[in-house]
């Protein structure tokens, strides 16, 4: 009898230890550029934890958060889930395990943690850094009578570039896709990066800088002025940023585009489509004389479901996903800028990429839109479209933004 009880106890305690399957949700693991990275993480983890297995569940990007919210609200979520940094991450922190003190040595080597944290701690392990830079088509600059080697440094420089494009009349100056309102997100953070002081960035993040304040109004006014001056192509509100805007840029139809460095690197795609010699890059300047700066923040990261019965093991896998060894594959295949600062980027050959990595190594500033709430971003999307259509004034749009809770 005693042995029976004993062996039963053994069986019940031993079973989970050699047959744990971690369910991991994402919207990327099937992407050809990311597939090798995810496979590598699984392989490394399963080798280190014999018997345990990783099961990736890739959800369609457009339904991801609806499904995640539904599953988490029903206590049926995955063990780990991928999140976009900023507002989307913060909306899910209530379901995530606090990770402070759980990451060991890795913690010291992680950038971009601010976008996965709240005052109460860190809730996700960042994988990548996201930033906005302006890419330009050197061939079109030459066509417009501009020096392809002289990238704009100030707002006046940019105004001259756009004047030349308008005078030439064959290609719009700055590509814009604002169908989902993403054009505004990029514009907002890129301009704010160069316009705002560190204190103003912090105030905005804390919800203490009103949308009707001069600093924020200046960003919205810049959007309206640039549109009025003819910098943007017509029809921006019916153009998707991903990928209509960028496809147009890759066809050589537009001079400049505010693009991404992220888990997908635009320099890689642009180099391939336009030829590396035709791709230039600069930081978006802002109205006024301030030096242009690079907005960057945590891109994507993994959170552990606090209700997961295998939370400890899930944390281990998150560490594997964020380790330099595994992320190296992501960088090599997709050009992903990783949050792990131990990454070796010396192998990169693209001129545009080298320039960007140089900027990243020095100082970056916060990505303002990532510090707005999900509800504010949604309202910003809407206001940005009506601003472009001239259906609302900047003052009214800013006032409407202030009405939306943080």
């Amino acid at each position: 009898m005693k042995t029976l009880v004993l062996s039963l106890a053994l069986v019940t305690t031993a079973l989970p230890a050699f047959a744990t399957e971690l369910t991991v949700w994402d919207w990327k693991s099937g992407d050809p550029a990311a597939a090798a990275y995810f496979a590598k993480a699984k392989e490394v983890f399963e080798a280190a934890h014999p018997g345990d297995t990783i099961s990736y569940v890739m959800q369609p990007n457009d339904q991801y958060y609806t499904l995640l919210g539904t599953a988490l609200a029903s206590d049926g979520g995955p063990d780990l889930f991928l999140l976009n940094g900023g507002a989307q991450a913060r909306a899910r922190f209530e379901n995530a395990l606090p990770l402070d003190g759980k990451l060991g040595d890795l913690a010291a080597n992680l950038a971009g943690t601010a976008d996965f944290s709240e005052a109460t701690g860190l809730y996700a392990v960042p994988l990548t850094i996201q930033g906005f830079v302006v890419y330009y088509n050197k061939a079109l600059y030459a066509d417009a009578g501009l020096d392809p080697a002289a990238a704009p440094k100030t707002w006046d420089d940019l105004a001259k570039v756009c004047a030349a494009f308008i005078a030439k009349g064959t290609a719009p100056c700055i590509a814009l896709g604002n169908k989902e309102g993403f054009g505004m997100e990029f514009w907002f953070s890129a301009i704010a990066a160069s316009l705002w002081t560190a204190q103003e960035q912090a105030d905005f993040a804390a919800g203490n800088l009103a949308w009707t304040s001069p600093q924020v109004v200046a960003v919205l006014q810049g959007w309206v002025d640039a549109n009025a001056a003819g910098w943007f192509p017509k029809g921006a509100n019916s153009t998707a940023k991903f990928m209509d805007e960028y496809e147009g840029f890759m066809r050589g139809e537009t001079g400049n585009t505010i693009g991404l460095i992220s888990d997908v690197a635009h320099w890689k795609q642009f180099d391939e489509m336009l030829g590396a010699e035709n791709v230039g890059v600069f930081m978006m300047p802002a109205p006024g004389g301030a030096a242009a700066k690079l907005p960057a923040a945590g891109g994507i990261g993994y959170a552990v479901n606090k209700k997961s019965p295998n939370a400890d093991l899930a944390v281990e896998f998150a560490k594997t996903l964020a380790s330099a060894e595994v992320l190296q594959v992501f960088f090599a295949d997709a050009g992903a800028v990783t949050a792990n600062t131990q990454m070796d980027t010396s192998s990169v050959t693209s001129e545009a990429a080298k320039t960007i990595f140089g900027w990243l190594a020095t100082e970056t500033v916060p990505m303002a839109h990532a510090n707005a709430s999900a509800a504010q971003l949604e309202e910003l999307h809407r206001q940005s479209q009506t601003l472009l259509n001239g259906e609302v004034s900047v003052a009214d749009a800013a006032a409407a933004m202030d009405k939306v809770g943080k």
Partner: protein, 267 residues
């Protein structure tokens, strides 16, 4: 006079065929070729996208899931709705009207409205991640309309038929199986076709219920990435997924049109 209306009608018809051309034409391009030339006819066609969609995007396996689930749901839908329709139209029993109205009312609940409670219900019953669960979910979602149509159809048939069969000593179950099911064939055919379409094209319910195994439309939805979408690959996937349905339609066009005729009209 005929030609004056025939021309716009022909243009409309052309617009209905254009998507097929668009899909196949782009599926034969590579990604770079598509980005550089979206509208043009494919220059050097390649079937690589179809190979990738079938293998790398797993549409091959997903097709099997779709076929299983669609078949299962359609069979279950036809059986339950014909059974209920027979009772509601021909038999007298308490609460008949109330039950009919409850079924009709649930026609008005869109999926989005009940996402979380529906998911929890499925979870509570242990139906998440099972094909059977998805079959039940589809049946529940598309059933109200089927019950309505079958009730409407059967209520136009002479009730004396049932009485005569009863005189001969047949049980109600026998009457349903031997008389009502065969008599209901046109309406059942209509419903079979419509529900095959609904189940096959559904994304949201399938995403919720079947998270480890996938159905083919979910596989296609997943081909649209966050930052990039390989449109030619997507087109190849769509062509593969739509092919069975289009073939079915072309093959059974006669029956479909007649079926809809009798099924809808008699109602």
């Amino acid at each position: 006079m005929h030609w004056v209306v025939a021309v716009p009608m022909a243009l409309l018809a052309l617009s209905c065929v254009y998507p097929v051309f668009f899909t196949v034409n782009n599926a034969l391009k590579d990604n770079k070729g598509y980005i550089l030339n979206r509208f043009g006819i494919v220059q050097d066609p390649s079937v690589q996208n179809f190979v990738d969609a079938w293998g790398r995007a797993h549409l091959g396996e997903y097709l099997f899931n779709s076929v299983t689930v669609t078949l299962g749901a359609v069979v279950l839908l036809l059986l339950t709705s014909s059974l209920a329709g027979f009772a509601l139209a021909m038999l007298r029993f308490p609460f008949r009207r109330v039950l009919f109205i409850v079924i009709l009312a649930s026609l008005m609940i869109p999926v989005q409205v009940v996402l979380v409670p529906f998911y929890r219900t499925m979870m509570g019953l242990g139906l998440i991640n099972t094909r059977f669960g998805l079959i039940l979910a589809y049946t529940a979602f598309f059933l109200p309309f089927c019950v309505y149509l079958m009730t409407a159809f059967y209520s136009r048939l002479p009730r004396e038929m049932v009485e005569a069969a009863r005189m001969d000593g047949a049980t109600l179950l026998q009457i349903w199986w031997n008389i009502m099911l065969p008599m209901g064939r046109p309406a059942l055919l209509t419903l079979g076709i419509l529900n095959t379409l609904y189940c096959w094209n559904d994304v949201l319910i399938s995403l919720l219920v079947l998270q480890k195994e996938r159905t083919v439309m979910v596989g296609i939805a997943a081909l649209r990435g966050e930052y990039t979408t390989n449109v030619p690959l997507l087109c190849a996937g769509i062509a593969l997924a739509a092919a069975p349905i289009i073939l079915l339609y072309i093959f059974f066009q006669r029956q479909i049109v007649d079926g809809i005729a009798v099924g809808a009209v008699k109602g």
